[in-house]
C-alpha cells in the first residue's frame, strides 16, 4: 500500500475512507439533532422504489468503475471497512445510550432507528454492499460461491429488514373468553383483520411446586453444605435439613381447602397442595401437616417448625401458556386451534403469538392478549438468513483462502 501519497489524491485509501464516513455520521447527526424530525415510516410502494434506486446506484458504480476513480474507491476494501465501521459506530451509539421509542425529545441519539443518521448509514452500507456483490458476480466462478452467499445473503437481510420495516403490521388482540374479535389494536386505533378469533379458554399449565426450608423471620432460603434447601416435588424423596426430614405423602395439582385439609378441585382459585410428614430425627418425633401454594383466593399455607425454621411450598412455575381459540376466516371456514408461547399460528400471511394475560388472575385469567404480526418482507429476510448460514458453513470449512505464495510458505502450517 502506498502510504506516501497526499491526502485526497486518488486512489483513496483508509484515511480518506474514514474521513468520509466520519463526515457522513457527524453531518447527519448534526442535522438530526438540529431538525429533530424522525424518518417517516416508509411503506409500500415507497420502500421498494427506494430499494430499486439503491440497487441501481450499486449497478451504476460497477458499470462506471473504469471511468470514475471515486467509483473504484467505493468498490475498494477501505471503503467497505469504513462502511462497516459506520454501521458498527451507529450501533455503538445505540448500545451506549438508553433507547426509548416513545421519546418525544431527541430522536438522535435516544431513538436511533428513527433517525436520518441511521437511515443514511444503512443506505450507504447497502449501496456499497450491493456494488461489491454485483462486481464479483461476473465473471462467474465456483470460487466465489462462498463470497456470493455471504454478501448477497447479508444484502437480502439488510434490504428486506430495513425497507420492509414500514410494512410490518404489529397489532394486539385482547380477547375475552367467549367473545369473538375481528380487529387488532395499536395505540388505541383499531384495524380490521381478514379473520376473527374467539377465545374459548386461556390457561396456564404449571409445573409442580418446589419445596424449601426457609428462615421463619426473614424468609430467606436456608442452605446446607453449600446447597440450597430447595427440593423438587417428588413423593419418593425425603427432604433433609439438619435433623429435620420431610416427605410428601400426597400431592394435589389442583385443590381447595375443605375444613382442615385439601381436596381435589378444579374450580376458580384452585391451588397446589401437599400433605407432608415432618420428622425430627434427634427426638424421634413426627407430625403431619397440609401445605399449599398461594392462589388468587387463598394465601399460601406454610408449616412453621420453630422460630427459625419453616417449610414452605414455593409458587409453581409456569410450564405452558396457551389460548384455546376458534378461528373464523373470511371465506366462512372455521377451525379450532391452540396458540402457545413459542408456538405461534399462521393465518394467511399473519402470524399470531401468545403474548400476555391478566396477571392479577394468573391461570384463571379470562383475558388473553395475542400479538398479530404481518410482515410481507419476512420471506426475503429468511432467504438471506439461510444464505448466510450456508456462507458461514463455507467459511468454517475453508478458512482464509491462502494466496499461492502463502500456500507454499505455510505448507507445514499448524497442526495444533
Amino acid at each position: 500500500m502506498n502510504n506516501n501519497k497526499p491526502l485526497w489524491q486518488q486512489p483513496w485509501q483508509y484515511k480518506e475512507s474514514f474521513l468520509i464516513m466520519t463526515a457522513i455520521l457527524i453531518g447527519a447527526g448534526v442535522c438530526d439533532i438540529w431538525g429533530n424530525t424522525a424518518v417517516p415510516p416508509i411503506f409500500f410502494p415507497y420502500n421498494i422504489t427506494i430499494g430499486i434506486i439503491a440497487l441501481l446506484c450499486s449497478m451504476g458504480i460497477v458499470l462506471l468503475q473504469k471511468k470514475y476513480a471515486i467509483f473504484r474507491w467505493l468498490l475498494s476494501v477501505p471503503a467497505s471497512i469504513s462502511a462497516i465501521a459506520g454501521f458498527v459506530g451507529i450501533s455503538a451509539i445505540m448500545a451506549l445510550t438508553p433507547q426509548n421509542p416513545q421519546a418525544t425529545a431527541l430522536h438522535f441519539p435516544y431513538n436511533i432507528t428513527s433517525s436520518w443518521t441511521y437511515a443514511i448509514t444503512i443506505g450507504y452500507f447497502l449501496i456499497i454492499l450491493g456494488a461489491i456483490s454485483l462486481k464479483r458476480l461476473y465473471p462467474f466462478s465456483a470460487r466465489n460461491i462462498g463470497f456470493a452467499l455471504n454478501h448477497w445473503g447479508l444484502y437480502c437481510i439488510i434490504f428486506a429488514a430495513s425497507l420492509g420495516a414500514g410494512d410490518v403490521q404489529k397489532l394486539n388482540m385482547t380477547l375475552d373468553t367467549g367473545k369473538t374479535i375481528w380487529y387488532g389494536t395499536k395505540n388505541q386505533q383499531t384495524y380490521e383483520l381478514p379473520f376473527a378469533i374467539r377465545l374459548n379458554e386461556f390457561g396456564i399449565d404449571e409445573y409442580p411446586a418446589k419445596f424449601a426450608f426457609v428462615h421463619t423471620q426473614t424468609g430467606t432460603v436456608l442452605s446446607e453444605n453449600g446447597r440450597n434447601a430447595i427440593f423438587d416435588c417428588d413423593t419418593s424423596v425425603i427432604f433433609q435439613y439438619k435433623e429435620w426430614q420431610v416427605q410428601i405423602q400426597d400431592f394435589l395439582q389442583s385443590s381447595a381447602p375443605v375444613n382442615n385439609r385439601f381436596m381435589a378441585m378444579h374450580d376458580f382459585g384452585s391451588t397446589q397442595s401437599a400433605r407432608i410428614t415432618i420428622k425430627n430425627t434427634l427426638q424421634d418425633t413426627a407430625f403431619d401437616a397440609w401445605m399449599a401454594s398461594a392462589s388468587i383466593l387463598y394465601p399460601p399455607l406454610h408449616v412453621k417448625i420453630n422460630d427459625s425454621l419453616t417449610f414452605i411450598m414455593m409458587q409453581p412455575e409456569p410450564k405452558r401458556f396457551y389460548s384455546s381459540i376458534r378461528v373464523y376466516k373470511n371465506n366462512g371456514h372455521k377451525y379450532d386451534t391452540i396458540i402457545e408461547v413459542n408456538k405461534p399460528i399462521t393465518i394467511d400471511s399473519w402470524k399470531i403469538y401468545q403474548t400476555s394475560y391478566d396477571e392479577t388472575k394468573g391461570k384463571w385469567s379470562s383475558i388473553s392478549i395475542l400479538e398479530v404480526i404481518n410482515d410481507p418482507w419476512l420471506i426475503y429476510v429468511f432467504i438471506g438468513f439461510y444464505m448466510v448460514i450456508a456462507g458461514s458453513a463455507y467459511l468454517i470449512w475453508n478458512g482464509k483462502k491462502q494466496s499461492k505464495t502463502n500456500m507454499k510458505k505455510n505448507s507445514h502450517v499448524e497442526t495444533f
Binding site: M94, P98, E340, P344, L378, I396, E414, F416
Partner: protein, 265 residues
C-alpha cells in the same frame, strides 16, 4: 431413565479422557484410537439422548439438565469435525474439556435435572444458538491469545520456531467468525418464533452485532493483507474486549438494564 445416564456418562468420560491423553502423541495408531475414542464418546451421549427422547415421548429440550446433554453431544461432535478438517488437536482437547464439563454438571447435580426452562426458552433454536456461540467464543478467545502472543512476537519480545502466528490467527478467526455468524442468525430465527420479531436492537443483540461487525472488519482488513502484522495482532486482542462486553459487560451497563438477555439470578 436418568438413572442410566451415569453409565453413558462414564463411558463417554473414559473414552474422551483417553482421546485427550492421546492428543499429545504423534503416532499414527494413537491418532486412530484418539479419533475412534472421540467419536464413540460422542455417540454414547447421542444414544442416551435418543433413548431419553423415546422414553419421555418428547424431545428432551425442556429442562436445563436436558439441554446440557445436547451441549455435550454437539460440542464434541462439531469439535471432532473441525479438528479433522483443520488438524487442530488443541481444539479437540478444548471440545473434550467443554463436553466433559457439561456431563459433570449433570452427573454431580442430579437433583436439578428437572429444573425447568421458561416457556420462551423451549424452542428448537435455543440449543443450537447456545452451542455455536460457545464454539465461536472459544475460537475467538483463542484468537485473542494468538493476537497477544503474535504481537509480542512481532515486537521481538518472544521467539517462536514452529509457529506461524499470522496464518493461524487468520484461520482461527475465520472459523470463530463463521460460528459467530451462525449464533447471530440462529438467535434471530429463535426470536422470530418466540417474540414475534427477528431483531429488536435489544442491548444484547446490539452488542452481538457490534462484536460481529468488529470481526467482520478484521476479515476485510486481512483480505489484501494491507496492514502490518503487529496491527492485526493488536486488533484481534482488542476485538475480544468487545466480545467480553457483549458476553458479560451488558449486565453492568446502565443503558442495558432492560434487556431480556440480562441474566437474572
Amino acid at each position: 431413565m436418568w438413572k442410566h445416564f451415569e453409565i453413558y456418562a462414564l463411558a463417554s468420560l473414559i473414552l474422551w479422557v483417553l482421546s485427550a491423553l492421546l492428543c499429545f502423541s504423534k503416532n499414527k495408531t494413537a491418532a486412530l484410537i484418539r479419533d475412534i475414542s472421540m467419536v464413540a464418546g460422542s455417540l454414547s451421549i447421542f444414544v442416551f439422548i435418543a433413548q431419553l427422547w423415546n422414553y419421555m415421548e418428547r424431545p428432551p429440550l425442556r429442562t436445563l439438565g436436558e439441554t446440557r446433554l445436547w451441549y455435550s453431544a454437539f460440542i464434541s461432535a462439531i469439535g471432532f469435525i473441525v479438528y479433522k478438517r483443520w488438524n487442530y488437536r488443541l481444539f479437540l482437547l478444548f471440545s473434550i474439556m467443554m463436553s466433559v464439563v457439561f456431563l459433570l454438571i449433570n452427573y454431580l447435580k442430579p437433583e436439578i435435572h428437572s429444573k425447568t426452562l421458561m416457556p420462551a426458552l423451549q424452542s428448537i433454536w435455543f440449543v443450537p444458538h447456545v452451542i455455536v456461540y460457545i464454539i465461536s467464543y472459544s475460537f475467538l478467545g483463542f484468537s485473542c491469545l494468538i493476537g497477544i502472543l503474535g504481537y509480542a512476537y512481532s515486537k521481538g519480545k518472544i521467539r517462536a520456531t514452529n509457529i506461524h502466528f499470522m496464518p493461524l490467527a487468520d484461520n482461527i478467526t475465520y472459523i470463530g467468525y463463521g460460528f459467530l455468524t451462525l449464533g447471530l442468525v440462529f438467535g434471530a430465527l429463535w426470536a422470530k418464533e418466540a417474540w414475534g420479531h427477528y431483531w429488536t436492537w435489544d442491548p444484547k443483540e446490539t452488542w452481538a452485532f457490534i462484536t460481529w461487525g468488529v470481526y467482520l472488519a478484521y476479515i476485510h482488513v486481512r483480505y489484501h493483507s494491507h496492514k502490518k502484522d503487529d496491527f492485526n495482532y493488536a486488533y484481534l486482542a482488542l476485538a475480544f474486549v468487545v466480545l467480553l462486553i457483549c458476553w458479560f459487560g451488558i449486565n453492568y451497563l446502565p443503558a442495558a438494564q432492560n434487556s431480556v438477555h440480562v441474566y437474572s439470578n
